[in-house]
């Protein structure tokens, strides 16, 4: 018998329900308003009163209306057929909804239960298995989608039987496993998992040791993101967070991309809906949409579901990770999620922390980021969830609680600067404030030694120093005047500018420049660093700035040209000539 209740009080989207039986914290319930049923989650219990946050508008709700408790927490449905779908924060398929508007209480199935899948067994009778062990696989788009022992099954089991290769629905039994006491369990292709809990069905979580390529020079070359790592992008509005995220989602070297549009603009999601089905992933030749799942709770959708959306995205990410895949989860923006927490906390009349955010904000954020990671699965293969979040700091001030809490949790920090955005130096990733802790990892250093070239990390640090010194020289020039400083200050400044313009800046809207593969990055970076190593002799600072400006112009044309094309090599030749003519032998 399900517990039921009656509405007793309403404050915006918090409803107080008097329950007639046991209720659990975070349990899901449905609040009836006329003919519609709205989903809600228990967030506090006092005596018989359950405080529930309703994932919808409570307009018209009355005292005495019925509430039904479901006896489980908010769960994600995990099964073949998730790829390419567009969900709301509660995993309702937006595509299946009728009408132009999302009406209250709209619930649609997250997957297609009627579809037949070509199943191939991977396990055999007698195999010992545990949660997340692979029993078989189906072909989902171009991903070999593993059918696993459900994550909630603790302990070890013996496979009793596995279905033969053939066509099955997700709800058909494809295996039977037996526990130590001899009880049999039927396993289907669909399982459920409470989204707020981390999936831990793996052997170990080693330190990340591979780099995830994004095609963005300011990231890959200067502050690489590790596969299974975490990063965040704080920046004031207009600094290019979304453009950067979209670029990464198009270009990243991942098998599955999950984009969580969390409290952001609907038109940005529409852009993905419009572009991704057309764009082709250069690595695989498949349409981008085939590897993408969109979880979309735009800023005008119910606030409570915003919080759920990031967890839903992460859970689906962990599910695909368990299949040995490289998953990238991106959330834009985690500040909106934090604000949703703030609104709830406020309505519950909790004592506030800084800026009225809940006291445990920092703990919630670090707990969430910790779900990312590279894992060694029980069968020895690896899978990863890389997480990249954006943060929208109030007033662009990085000293606010969400940025500070995230800084403690994430390993890469890509600070977007207003100054760079104002002068259209995109991507506006600040070369001096930003960092990647992964550059310090011996594992990553070793990986880059092998994959790019020996002592690459030292070269990266050298570039950073040149940029830093360029900035310092510029400050001096601004204080003392062009004539007030030695010539070498000008040279130093322009060498920093050279790295900035050629490597750090990148045109996300140019077909060629938008995506810069690692080989090309290596070549360009080495060319630029080489020039920085050379000494030049100039008669005056005007000549110096003229020289570097024309050099930068040539490099920019090179960035716009196809890799290794005649045009590209022509510009390369021109650069070499210009440099050799001017350099001191």
């Amino acid at each position: 018998m399900k517990t039921t209740g009656r509405v007793k009080g309403i404050i915006a989207n918090i409803v107080i329900a008097q329950a007639d039986g046991a209720v659990g914290q975070n349990e899901i319930c449905f609040v009836h308003c006329g003919d519609t049923k709205m989903m809600a989650e228990v967030i506090k219990v006092i005596g018989d009163d359950a405080y529930v946050q309703v994932y919808d508008s409570t307009r018209g709700l009355k005292v005495g209306d019925k509430v039904e408790f479901e006896g489980h927490m908010l769960e994600a449905t995990l099964a073949p057929g998730l790829l390419s779908r567009n969900y709301d924060g509660l995993q309702n398929d937006l595509e299946k909804m009728d009408g132009l508007f999302i009406n209250r209480g709209s619930i649609t199935e997250p997957i297609d239960f009627e579809r037949l899948w070509d199943f191939k067994p991977l396990a055999a009778a007698g195999d010992k298995v545990t949660a997340a062990s692979w029993l078989g696989e189906v072909q989902e788009q171009w991903v070999a989608h593993k059918i696993m022992v459900p994550f909630i099954m603790t302990g070890s089991y013996t496979v009793k039987s596995v279905a033969e290769a053939g066509q099955y629905k997700v709800t058909d039994t494809i295996a039977v496993v037996t526990d130590a006491d001899g009880n049999d369990y039927d396993i289907t292709m669909v399982q459920k998992w409470p989204v707020k809990q981390a999936v831990r069905c793996y052997d170990e979580k080693p330190r990340p040791y591979r780099v995830m390529e994004t095609g963005v020079r300011a990231i890959d070359t200067f502050n690489p993101l590790a596969e299974g790592g975490t990063g965040f992008i704080p920046g004031p509005f207009g600094a290019g967070k979304t453009v950067l995220q979209h670029a990464i989602s198009k270009q990243a070297d991942a098998d599955v991309i999950i984009i969580v549009a969390c409290g952001e603009r609907a038109n940005e999601v529409v852009e993905i809906f419009a572009e991704f089905p057309e764009l082709v992933d250069p690595r695989t030749g498949h349409k981008l949409m085939e590897r993408t799942i969109i979880i979309c709770n735009t800023s005008n959708m119910p606030v409570a579901a915003r919080e759920a959306s990031v967890y839903t995205g992460m859970t689906i990410g962990e599910y695909y990770r368990s299949m040995g895949l490289k998953v990238l989860v991106m959330a834009d923006s985690t500040s909106r999620w934090a604000q949703a927490l703030r609104e709830m906390s406020n309505r519950l009349e909790e004592l506030p922390g800084q800026d009225a955010f809940p006291m445990d904000l920092s703990a919630i954020i670090s707990n969430f980021y910790s779900r990312a990671g590279l894992v060694r699965l029980n069968n020895g293969s690896t899978g990863s969830v890389t997480f990249l979040g954006t943060v929208s700091p109030a007033g662009g001030n990085l000293k606010e609680p969400v940025t500070e809490s995230t800084k403690k949790a994430a390993r890469c920090f890509y600070a977007l600067s207003q100054g760079r955005a104002d002068s259209k130096r995109y991507p506006a990733i600040d070369p001096i404030d930003s960092y990647s802790k992964y550059l310090e990892y011996p594992e990553i250093r070793e990986y880059l030694d092998g994959h790019i070239e020996k002592d690459w990390v030292d070269l990266v640090y050298e570039g950073k120093t040149i940029v830093q010194r360029g900035k310092e020289a510029n400050d001096q020039i601004n204080i003392l005047g062009d004539d007030g400083v030695p010539m070498e200050y000008h040279e130093r400044f322009w060498k920093g500018e050279l790295i900035d313009f050629v490597i750090l800046q990148q045109d996300a809207f140019d077909e060629i420049d938008a995506n810069c593969p690692l080989d090309r990055q290596k070549m360009m970076y080495k060319m630029v660093i080489d020039i920085c190593h050379r000494d030049f002799e100039f008669n005056d600072f005007e000549e110096c700035s003229q020289f570097f400006k024309s050099l930068i112009n040539l490099f920019r044309q090179m960035n716009y040209s196809e890799w290794n094309s005649d045009k590209f090599n022509d510009y390369k030749g021109q650069i070499e000539k210009v440099v050799n003519d001017k350099a001191v032998k």
Binding site: G60, K62, L94, M97, I102, V270, V303, E343, S423, I479
Partner: protein, 439 residues
Amino acid sequence: MTTRAFQKIYTKIDNITKATVTLRASGVGNDELATVGGKLAQVVKIMGENVTLQVFAGTEGLQTDSEVVFHGEPPKLKVSDNLAGRFFNAYGEPLEGGEQIEGESREIGGPTVNPFKRKQPSELIATGIAGIDLNNTIVSGQKIPFFADPDQPYNAVMANVALRAKADKIILGGMGLTNDDFLYFKQVFENAGALDRIVSFVNTTENPPVERLLVPDMALTAAEYFAVDKGEKVLVLLTDMTLYADALAIVSNRMDQIPSKDSMPGSLYSDLAKIYEKAVQLPNGGSITIIAVTTLSGGDITHAIPDNTGYITEGQLFLRNDTDTGKVIVDPFRSLSRLKQLVIGKKTREDHPQVMNACVRLYADAANAKTKLENGFDLSDYDERALKFAHDYSEKLLSIDVNIDIEQMLDTAWKLFAEYFTKEEVAIKAELIEKYWKA
């Protein structure tokens, strides 16, 4: 607002605060409207049999035995083609004592459009102002505010933009508008002979501030009628959203909510987003474009209102007095239209994106030169040329009194490039230089 015979009348109010009343009542729905002592009010909280109502016009003069009648429904607007050409107050009642509108009654602040059913905005809205069309092109279905100091002519610019934009309907939502500004809008629209395609919902400074909370929802319900039902291109003007946010803060304060940054309610982001996100390009060809005004205090965009707005809207247009030319310009550094990428170089000439960027970059060089000059340093030849360029750029392109088409803007920019710079300094793709350089 008529009282129906069968409705129960309550005559015992337990608590009265400046903005709310609480009484014991049953069978009341959340968000429902009521009349309290002749004033309109809305249910904001229900706790057992205690119902708290927010009285829009304030509680002055209410008595504990004032009559309370519940309407049984949330705020609604009657929509039909007859809305066009009319002026309404915040409750959707005709101003100047005109006839009531007959039509279908719709709840205001209704559900959101399914993001999957939206279309990508792709239609350029030309305004003739280069600071907008060239640098920050607006697209139908976009939402974008003017960030302006109270002394700047934002209402005039907005009225200009509205009239040039070739919209099927213009819906004005005036919040805390001074009577003078209200009459100004009315006159401009009348003079342009555009009254028949304009609907106005106006709360002036003479009306109670809390009433203005209804204005955006009223305006957008009317906009949805024309865009969704009639497939029309609708332009919604909201001025001034800062005063709207102030009203939110008043209510939240009276409800004892813990304020967050700048004394604004913690839900400010969601509250503003609900309004702005109504901007949409629909599959039937209809669209709602929102142009709003957010007034700043002393140009401070880190204040919670412009800050939250900036995160919601698709860019912002920044008005600034340019001391060099004495004109009001659209600031090229701080202004941004996020949707311009959808049309520039695609619906406009191919050189548009690069010309736009080069102009801004050179203008930035001029700003650096200016700093040098102010610090008493000698200027290089390049600096001198950049400064001259900046002056002309500001006067011929950025100034809000410019009214030319986009091709003319691009040609003007190329002329300025050739006048003051070499091809290398402009740093535009070689193919474009070849084609458009004005030797």
